[in-house]
């Protein structure tokens, strides 16, 4: 059996081997383009340090955005949705059982009603 056989997706195919070859070619192109760049920058000077709007950052730790703050804008924009969905996750076992009963009613409606 050919280990590189592609997957037939019904309307196309997927062959990771082709993807890997294309990826390697892209890497080579990137490497060549990088080689065309300027090499006369001065190491360990202001040229190679991160620029934070001209602010001096004395403590490295302050550069780290904490996990809870990443995507703050996204969650703030969907605050309405998140308020509702979070309030549904009560952590109360009785609510878990209630959702089970609700879904059982849904399944009853589908199986007994539609079929």
């Amino acid at each position: 059996m050919n280990p590189f056989v592609p997957i037939d997706t019904g309307s196309g195919f997927w062959n990771p081997l082709i993807w890997v070859i294309v990826f390697i070619i892209a890497l080579l192109i990137v490497y060549v383009i990088r080689g065309l760049g300027r090499g006369d920058y001065k190491k360990n000077t202001g040229q190679t340090k991160p620029f934070l709007s001209g602010n001096v950052v004395e403590n490295d730790e302050q550069l780290h955005v904490k996990g809870g703050n990443v995507y703050w804008g996204f969650t703030e924009a969907f605050k309405g949705y998140y308020n509702k969905i979070k309030s549904m996750h009560t952590g109360d076992t009785r609510d878990y059982v209630l959702w089970f009963l609700v879904m059982m009613v849904v399944f009853f409606a589908v199986v007994l009603g539609v079929m």
Partner: protein, 518 residues
Amino acid sequence: MNSIITHSPALLIAIPLFAAFITPLLSRIHRRARDGFVLIVLAATELLALLLAQDIYANGIRKYVFGATLPSLTHPGTMSIPVRIIFEIDGLSIFMVLISLTIAFVATVYSSSFFKKEDGLDRYYTLLLLVTVGMVGMELTGDLFNFFVFLEITSIASCALIAFWVDRGESLEAAFKYIVISSIGALFVLMAIGFLYGQYDALNIAALANSIQFTFIDKVALVLLLAALTMKAGIAPMHMWLPDAYGEAPPSVTIAVVAATQASLYGVLRVCFTLYGKGLRLNMAAVGWTLVGLGLLTIFIGVTMALVQRSLTRTIAFAAVGEIGYMVIGAGTALAAGAQNFATVALKGGVFHIFNDVLDIGLLFLVAGAIIYATKERDLNNLGGLAKRMKYTTVFFLIGLLAVAGMPPLNGFASKILIYESTYQLNPIISIIAILSSILLLAIFVKIFYSLFLGPELPHLRDVKEVPKGMLVAMAILATLIIIFGLFPGYVLQTIVDPAVAALSNPTNYINAILGGA
């Protein structure tokens, strides 16, 4: 060798079950003897499963009878029915068995280092082996009541394992929720089995599938089975127990519980495609559309909730909820599409994703365990800059995150592309939601990757060291499988997924293997 293969269905249960009760004795001799023994037992069981798989792929469905060899051999006294249990192993059963045993083996390798300084490991390994017995039993049996018994073994042993860290209140609470949910689910499964037994005087799945008449009682039994098993599989909005259990259990337990959850999903597939699959009179498309709807809801809720978690393990747990949705829409699309060509593609995607999900989510949980082991922290706000100190763990997390987000050329993409393309033909909206959710999943794991590994070293994490070799080996096993499944998906599909899909698509073969016929 032939004798071993002949009796392998029984041995796949007997060996880990026997080992489960030997382990506490070996603990008294030496912990290394115990750890080595459990590893050897699970490796031998996996080897046995591979031999059985080879036999099934070559010769078709295998049945193994415990008790009366023929249905006519009834007890001469009072009993009018034969005392017998039949294991029936087709392509789907053995596919699931391979998943369960692989995960059990990896969990054991990981545990040997992760729990080095903890007490109570004699009981831990006994319970882990019992979970393995339960999962494998659920997947091998051709008897509905036997399925219930193994479901109970899995649930009870999993509950005790979730509560392994008894000094953590959160773990005890998670275990309590798990056992409540599991008991209620099992109760309704038992009730459904009772209804079917009362109707047809049979418990064998093939016999029931052959005689089912789709009466009102049969439909009620279908509802009870679907509701209970989808809850155990963690489908929204009945998923809420899952982040609690996955998030608070030790990581090696979590991956075993992930595999147990997949065993419940196997139950859903068996009920829909085999037990009720032969009945053309029943419109399974309605069930299919319901599963598609629930699958989308599961993906959406899982992924969006993962984005706002602060706990590392709970974030991965919600992502795991989202991943379950992909398998469900694959199976749902296959039912809703009926005889259309893309039904098979959807089913292939869904079934292939069961294995991929266990590997990807499993690897992420093991990495989370490594972080907790090394830092004693699980709050994302207190972590950062670990890449310099934990190089291997960083690479493993990167592989896991790319795989779970469905990035080519890893395994998650291979199964998801089958789901995307087939669901697009059913309704483009399904495919669009699935793709967008996968992108959001990538965004979530990029956030975690940044929070954990990038940025400057935090002062309280300057003494952190890479985790022990045993944990790295366990992560490496999963990462290697992810890469192999990603680079050779066509080979994996043809070897293990296609026989599983064929088993689901042709319930008649399953029935005829027991009852005979053309």
